[in-house]
Structures are given as C-alpha cells and as structure tokens.
Assembly symmetry: C2
Homo-oligomer: 289 residues x 2
C-alpha cells in the first residue's frame, strides 16, 4: 500500500488499536479518525491513536488511500452510502465487522467503481469498550480473516492483507459464506451459550459458581448491543449451530439414559483431546519454532 | 479436632494438596496416605504431602481421628465397606467428592455407629491430575460445601468444618439433595456443555477458534473418567439442567425468528450483568474489606 491517509471510521477499542498499531509499527500513514462524539475523538488524539479528528464522514475519507470501518456493523450500510461520493480514485475500503455476508453485499452495492471493497475480520478484541482500552499490540499474532467475493480486486485484497500483516496479523482467506457459517459455530454460538448458561442459573446456584463457571461464561461479559447485531445478522447460521448443539445434547442424554459409561467417557475425552490439540496449535502459531 | 492421625485415602491432586496444606498450616496431625500404586505414595512422601504411606486400607485408617476419601467417587462404596471394621471409636470420615447424595447414603449405610460421616465438597481443583501438581494453597479462599443429613452428628459436622477452615476454606452448608441439584446447574452442565461445544465443531471451524472459545471450553480439558462418574451419578439433575438450557435456547431461537432486537439485547445484557455482579462478589470473597 502506498503511503498516504488512512481513515478510521469509529475510534473505539478496535479503531483506536489500529491507529496505535500504525504508529507503533512506524507505518508511513497519516491517520484520520472519524467519530460522532467529540470526547471520543479528543481521547483518541490524546492517546496518539489518530493524527487528525473529524466528525464529518465525507471529510474524514477525503483523499484516503485506505478507509477502515470500525463502527458497529449495523451502521455500515448508512456509512457506506454517505462516504461513496467522497472517495478518491483507487481508495480501498475494508472493515473489522464480525459478520461478512451482509457487509460485503452492502459495500459492493454502495461503493463506486473507482473504489474497492475487501471484507476483513481481524479476530482480536476484548470485553472492554472504548478507545481508552486501545492497545498497539491488540492485533499482534492474531488471525485476520479476509473475505474476498468474486467481485473483489486481487490487488486490493493483497494490499489489505499486507496492511493487516504490517500490524502483526496472520491472514486466512474465506468466502463471506464460509466465514459466517464457521464463525457461527466457533464464536457466535459460544457467546450465546455463555449468556444462556448465566441466565438459566438461579441465585442459589450462582453463589456456588467456581473458577470453571467464570471462565466458561467470560465471553458473556461482552457488549450486549454488539452481540445482538451479530446474532441477528447471522441468524440462519446461528440457528444451524444451535441445531448441532442440540444433537450433541441429545447424544449426551441418550448416554445418561443408557448409563453408557464407555461412550460417555469417549465423548468427554474426545472433547478434552481436541481442545488440547487446539491449544497446542494456537501456542505454536503465537510462538513458531 | 483433637491432634492425631489423619488418613488421606487417595493421594492425587486433592489428597496431596490436603496433606501439603496440613503441613504448611502446621496443623498437629500425623498424615497417613493410602494409595494402591507405590510410585504415587513415594511421590507423596517425597513432596512432603504425607508422613507415612500405606497400601493397605485397614492399616491406613487404623487409629485415625479423621479419614478423608479422595479417590474417584465410584470407588467410595467399596472403600467404605473395607475400612468400616477398622475404624477406631469416634473416627470422623469425610470426602472430597463432587456429588453428595449417593456418597452420604453409602457412607451412612456402611459405617459402624461408633464412627461419623460428614459429606464435604471442597470446590477446588485443576485440570491437572496427580500428586505432582498438589499445592499447599489449593484450598486457600475457596468454598467448601458440607452436606449434613438428618443423621449427621453436629459435633462431627463442626469438627469437619473446622478442619476445612484451618486450611483456608470458607464453608457453606447444603443438604445432599440441594447440593446435587445446584451443582448440576452451575458445574456439571457447564462441563458437559464445554465438551459439546468442542465436539460439534468441524476442523475448519476449530482452526478459527480465538481466545473466547478457548476460555469457554477450558473446563472441557478435565479428566474424562472423573466427569463421566459425576454426570452418571447425578444424571437426574443433569437431565433437568439440560432442560433449563433448552428453554433458554428456545427463547433465543424465538427472538431470532421474530428479529426481536430489544428482547435479544436484554437477554444478552442480563447475562453480562449477572456475570459481572458474580465476579465482583467472588473478588470480594477472596479479598474481603
């Protein structure tokens, strides 16, 4: 990507951390931050996440070589329509949204032919919200999924991937459809399940909760509005994931009913061993030989 | 409790940690460890968890003022029958099992009138197994549930609670029935769910797992045989807990079908806020004012 202006639309935890990562990696970009609250913009300037602040969308993206949408996903459609007329030739637009089918579709329909869209899902975050929790190393070693469609420019795709790599991320490419299907299983369902697990408890049971329960429900502590949007946007896949969970629960109930100790031990050990292998793989990714 | 002999039946992570905690708190007990493997007993002697080792159950409990069953729960019945004739007058027997109805019943039927049984569930542990992971502070600040029945001697109950307090535990009393019901919701279901959550994933989804998934499934990493026994022993309650989870999932599906954003945000925020309150309460318990 050529040196130039990066516009970060929404300077919360993710947008702010992108700005800090650009600075800490000494990338040759002038970072413009857009936000609708002056206090947020001031904080972003103060921590050094952005070089310039704007509360005007068109002005914020004007002359940018890269625009990164970092607001809640449900705002993307309106933002894309607003920025479309203001984009310079060859501007690349990407995002950090947790669902990808709707975003890619909206972007491809809203943006002019002289701009390119590449869907991105940098898999980093926190239960904390706001630029005050932004960290330059938030993305270091984490996975970024890029989601090219048949309409995606290969050059733009490679430039966006290069950008994420330059702030420390690893890249995996998936179609928007595969992204949303796989993330429903491995991210959206676990979040919903953590909420369900808390909500089904009565107070007497909660008082007995140990470290295991707190770990298992940590992701229930996230931002309700963010996860509402994700679950609604990806509801067909989430429904399928719940179906797969029900199949597992039915299998468990059948083993309990039959008092089938061997099958139950196998089922539990299978979960234990697959998680153990996953953990080793993740540690290897973060600390390669 | 009078100074004297403590017999720890099974010197794994929990039994070994009890021995180390007795020593580090300088309690006036001679600790006898029973195990069926010589190598385990040697390790327990080596790390200082026990003063004396025995691979003979009757000899191990002979003259003990307190016997603590620390083997897998399914072995308790046979152990209780074997030690019954060897117990001295006024011996108190307790245990560390994760289910309580069956244990209390077995103990009350197996033990002679001159001995007392008090059910205990010290809520501490680890995914690690074996005396090599034993720690003197494993129980420090953690909760121990005692489960008196109508047959339990008040004196014995108070002495057992005093013992757990003397190694740093807080005490809550519950009937065996309430214990098994509440623990099914807050412990046994979450463990089963963590296994289900891993087992429903295909390999492509697992490759995308982030920190949230690893946290949510940490308790799937436990000992399959231990959790098999707990789930089977408490299967009626686990079945009810799964029913309560299904009710939550049905509610979630209905909100998704109706695209009910407000209800979904409330449901997610309720989970988030109750967990937040729980976390604060837990931190307050560990670090009281």
């Amino acid at each position: 990507m050529q040196p130039g202006r990066i516009s970060i639309i929404g300077v919360g935890l993710l947008g702010g951390s992108i700005g800090l990562a650009v600075k800490s990696n000494a990338l040759p970009f002038h970072v413009v931050g857009y936000g609708h609250r002056r206090s947020t913009l001031d904080k972003a300037l103060e921590v050094g996440a952005i070089d310039e602040a704007s509360d005007d969308l068109a002005a914020a993206v004007s002359g940018a070589s890269l625009v990164i949408l970092c607001t809640p996903v449900l705002l993307f459609d309106q933002i894309l329509k607003t920025i479309a007329p203001a984009l310079a030739d060859n501007t690349i637009v990407t995002d950090v949204g947790s669902t990808k089918r709707s975003v890619v579709q909206q972007a491809e329909s809203a943006l002019p032919p002289h701009a390119s869209f590449v869907g991105s899902h940098p898999m980093a975050g926190s239960e904390k919200r706001g630029v005050e929790y932004a960290r330059p190393d938030l993305f270091q070693g984490a996975l970024c999924i890029t989601t090219p469609s048949i309409n995606t420019s290969t050059t733009a795709l490679e430039q966006v991937e290069q950008f994420w790599r330059s702030i420390g991320m690893r890249i995996t490419r998936l179609s928007p459809i595969d992204h949303d299907r796989l993330l429903a299983d491995v991210s959206h369902l676990p979040h919903a399940l953590a909420a369900a697990l808390v909500n089904l408890q009565d107070e007497a049971a909660l008082r007995l909760a140990g470290k295991g329960f707190l770990d298992a429900t940590r992701i229930a502590g996230g931002d309700g509005a963010l996860w509402r949007d994700i679950l609604l946007d990806n509801r067909d896949n989430v429904r399928d994931s719940i179906g797969r969970l029900r199949t597992q629960l039915d299998h468990l109930l059948a083993m309990l009913d039959k008092n089938d100790a061997d099958a139950l031990a196998n089922w539990l050990n299978n979960g234990s061993q697959r998680r153990e292998a996953l953990l080793k793989e993740k540690l290897r990714e973060v600390n390669p030989d």
